[in-house]
Amino acid sequence: MKLIIISGFLGSGKTTLLLGLVRRLTSGNGCDFVILENEVGEIGIDGVFLEKQGLQVKELYSGCVCCQLAGDLVVTLREIKDVLDPDGVILEASGLAKVESILDTLDRYYGELEGTMVISLADLERFELYQEEPMPFVINQIRYADLVVLNKTDSGDGELTATMAAKLAELNPDAEVIGVSALEGSNLDLVAERLGTWMRTTS
């Protein structure tokens, strides 16, 4: 069982991206996925939305999997492996999550994964979050990503997109940066192709 972590600041489009990707991965690669939805709110919202789209969803809410719910994350991953054993789990982390802490928890307490891939979203509509004095957890999300997705490219011009992509590349020189509009579906095929390749070649 492989784990794909989708991280990104609040409202950056993680749920929309997840939905677009899982549809492509399921139909294009024949993979089956369980979605693990983490929200800091006391009531799950995104899980309801994804279930209405026909996806198999487990929810971890009222805290963040990078800290308060770290233990619940490990227990839930074990349960998913034991009961459902899917090809992959897609974890949508809360928008406040520090990715480094999630990876540290998995390293220490759940070594049975065949691989972990982190996709972090940056939000072009809120480019100012990444300039001057960016929030440490937002920078951490980008720094620990294997793939950075610059979302909402439909909302800005080419110059802003290029400036933001350059900033993201500076924060994480090892990760590919792909611009998308998750809402419109543009460039999601490319992200899905990267994920599909990773799913097939990682063991």
Partner: protein, 120 residues
């Protein structure tokens, strides 16, 4: 500013529209008012305001707002006119405490709905 500077507030309310207008329009008006009220109450960043409105029969309406200046986004529905509605909302912001978030929520809802606490 870091993650611990954000405040999270979740609530459920039962809503009865005060006018015969489309529930979708009423909801959009409420959300616009709520975002405005947050801005004038010291909110510096809207992380995410998101929620679901259900009437028990139609597909649910999902909403989302991520800025003090942009228009809230709605998808799903349409909700039936004249029905009681169940609202579930989560607000993640900085600069406003949970008491203010709750009070502002009820104040803004009161402009468009008769509002009662909703368990579950």
């Amino acid at each position: 500013m870091d993650a611990h500077d954000f405040v999270t507030f979740s609530a459920r309310r039962k809503l009865a529209p005060l006018t015969a207008g489309s529930p979708r329009d009423l909801l959009l008006s409420f959300l616009t008012d709520y975002v405005k009220a947050l801005g004038t109450s010291g909110c510096s960043i809207i992380g995410h305001i998101k929620g679901i409105v259900e009437d028990g029969e139609s597909p649910p309406l999902f909403f989302s707002a991520t800025s003090l200046s942009g228009e809230p986004q709605l998808k799903g529905g349409p909700l039936g006119q004249g029905s009681d509605l169940a609202l579930t909302i989560t607000v993640i912001v900085s600069g406003v405490d949970t008491e203010q978030l709750s009070r502002l929520l009820d104040d803004c809802l009161a402009g468009y709905f008769l509002c009662t606490l909703h368990g579950g």
